[in-house]
């Protein structure tokens, strides 16, 4: 497995929507490098014939009746919103330049 580069970290931070300063990127790159190196042995343990486990105790087809249960009112849903207008969440422009 390849080492994690500063460019990788910058790209990942962008994907994860976390703005990072140059100093933060440097520090994070060093720390992640050590962590990734220490966990790399995981791939050697797992041969092709071992099935993957996603949940420790798998349950399937967990359904409920298709009826409306208790829901939040619009007021409750908006009570923690950073910004709202009428019964909606208000956000800045979705696209640049608008």
């Amino acid at each position: 497995m390849s080492a994690i580069s500063r460019e990788d970290v910058a790209h990942l931070a962008q994907l994860a929507h976390i703005e990072m300063s140059d100093a933060e990127l440097d520090k994070m790159t060093g720390e992640l490098g050590v962590i990734v190196e220490s966990i790399a042995s995981v791939s050697e343990a797992a041969s092709a014939d071992v099935p993957a486990t996603t949940h420790p105790i798998a349950l399937s087809n967990v359904f409920r009746e298709d009826v409306v249960g208790p829901t939040l009112t619009a007021e409750e849903a908006l009570m923690n919103a950073p910004d709202s207008v009428d019964t909606r969440f208000k956000v800045p422009a979705i696209l640049d330049g608008e």
Binding site: M1, I4, D8, V9, L12, A13, Q14, L15, A16, H17, I18, E19, M20, M28, E31, L32, V34, I35, V36, S38, I39, A40, S41, V42, S43, A45, A46, S47, V50, P51, A52, T53, T54, H55, P56, I57, L59, V62, R64, L72, E76, A77, M79, N80, A81, P82, D83, F89, V91, P92, A93, I94, L95, D96, G97
Partner: protein, 515 residues
């Protein structure tokens, strides 16, 4: 110290039912203790929010029902009126829920977690919300955005994490009961280093609806107490099927109180206890190993059959955990984007678009450890690395389950030290993430396999508590309570009292609190 706060929850509940103490007196005694030892300059700082008004109101309601007698009094839960503290990762109406993050500063949940609904229905007054590592990510509670919690045994040391607040609160007699959450050891490791009891139930045994998700295939809510019997009562209260949690097991809660009462005889005749070869030796402090060996001897003398089991794939558990957990973190924490709830931070320059608002919000709202895990998880899940990292880690999970299956053919319960070390000094590992991660080496395998685990006090090393962990097969939580209560009884007989009786006296003078 006020006598009321020294009582176990079970003892306090009996005195409340007998009318020897009122719930208002019990709640007030704990609120006074919180004022005395929690908030000062060198206070324990177990609480992020103290719920004075509501706790006293619920207590007064319970007292009124008991005083009136009749069917309503008869119908009260046996623990009605016994106060409880709640880890601030669990959402509560009427009290802020922060997850110890700036991202949720001042956030008020519009709904209650299922465990909180159960606590309200049983009328346990909630004392407040306890401190944790931000979003439960850490092993020392030093990653809280609101400052660390101190270990009541030594105020310069960590109380473990992530649930250091809940563990410290019960260890410092600020609450008889608390709720925790355990993703890789966040109930058990703090229990070990504070000399208290903590249980991670079988995955799905307690509803997680309303626990702010960290890693959904690993997270579990469980009890934090000073005695095994208290944990059994609390576990029975919060356990059971919940249609609001699709991972909740649709099965009755096992008879845990009965198992704890059986164990309290101290008799372990016929119980096979498996010593996990890989969870001792190198990396485990000598003092921890000594207390562990003494516990084994006590169990053997009480009739247990001690066998050695090997779990060869545990050496990959920590690595696999640090791939699976961050991957799930990166997904679960995507919702904190400054749009619908929580903090919103505007970028200081450049165009004001929602994408840039998200970037600025998450930069300011998340602490370093949360950011590290989100980036690590994003990396593990990215194209080109997914199979090698996340895919391999899921296979390791299967191997760990197989190791446990084989071990449980030889033993009824497994045993190990809960944590490789005693509580370390505040600040000593905050600059070394990897060293911090190693604290959970003995607790992580249970989460990977979904099985239950308990920590019970095992004595002291260098004057600091050592925890002993029992593990049982999935759905066999009752075995933990039997073995845990037996060891508790055997060791307390040896010590001539509770381990916490040996803890240094905390007071307003030592913590800078209100006398």
């Amino acid at each position: 110290m006020n006598q009321i706060i020294q009582l176990s929850a079970t003892e306090l509940a009996a005195k409340l039912r007998a009318g020897e103490i009122t719930s208002v007196q019990a709640v007030q005694a704990h609120l006074d203790r919180i004022a005395e030892v929690d908030g000062g300059e060198r206070g324990v700082h177990a609480f992020l929010h103290v719920n004075t008004e509501e706790a006293l109101a619920v207590a007064a309601e319970v007292d009124a029902i008991r005083a009136a007698g009749g069917a309503d009094a008869q119908a009260l839960h046996p623990f009605a009126g016994v106060p409880i503290a709640v880890k601030d990762l669990i959402v509560t109406k009427g009290q802020p829920t922060t997850a110890a993050s700036k991202m949720l500063e001042g956030w008020m949940s519009p709904y209650d977690a299922t465990v909180i609904e159960k606590i309200r229905a049983a009328k346990l007054p909630m004392l407040g919300k306890t401190n944790l590592d931000e979003f439960a990510m850490g092993s020392s509670t030093e990653h809280s955005a609101y400052g660390p919690t101190r270990n009541p045994w030594d105020l310069d040391r960590i109380p473990g994490g992530s649930g250091g607040g809940s563990a410290a609160a019960v260890a410092a007699f600020e609450a008889p009961l608390a709720l925790g959450t355990d993703t890789g050891g966040s109930i058990r490791q703090p229990g070990a280093v504070t000399g208290t009891v903590g249980v991670k139930p079988t995955y799905g045994g307690v509803s997680r609806y309303g626990a702010i998700a960290m890693a959904s295939s690993l997270d579990q809510i469980g009890p934090v107490t000073r005695t095994v019997l208290d944990s059994a009562y609390l576990h029975e209260l919060i356990g059971g099927h919940d249609p609001a949690d699709s991972t909740s097991l649709n099965e009755p809660v096992p008879a845990l109180v009965a198992a704890a009462e059986q164990g309290a005889s101290g008799d372990m005749t016929g119980v096979r206890v498996g010593v996990i070869k890989e969870l001792q030796g190198e990396g485990y402090e000598a003092g921890v190993q000594e207390r562990f060996n003494e516990s084994l001897e006590a169990l053997r003398a009480a009739g247990a059959e001690i066998v050695e089991v090997s779990c060869p794939n545990f050496k990959y558990a920590l690595g696999a955990y640090y791939l699976i957990m961050p991957s799930e973190v990166s997904s679960n924490l995507a919702k904190f984007d400054g749009v619908r709830f929580g903090t919103r931070v505007l970028p200081t320059q450049g165009p004001l678009t929602i994408e840039r608002v998200m970037g600025a919000t998450r930069a300011a709202g998340f602490g370093d450890e949360v950011k590290r895990r989100i980036i690590l998880g994003t990396y593990a899940l990215s194209a080109g690395y997914y199979d090698a990292y996340y895919g391999s880690a899921q296979k390791v999970r299967t191997l760990i389950q197989r190791d446990f299956d084989a071990a449980f053919e030889q033993a009824d319960v497994l045993i190990s030290p809960t944590s490789p070390t005693v509580a370390f000094e505040l600040g000593s590992k905050t600059d070394d993430p990897l060293a911090m991660y190693l604290n959970d080496v003995a607790t992580i395998p249970a989460n990977m396999a979904g099985i239950p685990g308990i920590t019970v006090p095992g004595g002291l090393s260098e004057g600091l508590p050592v925890g002993i962990q029992f593990l049982a097969p999935a759905r066999e939580d009752a075995r933990l309570y039997r073995a845990g209560a037996a060891l508790e009884k055997l060791l307390e007989d040896k010590w001539g009292g509770r381990l916490l009786d040996q803890a240094p006296e905390l007071s307003a003078a030592t913590t800078g609190g209100v006398a």
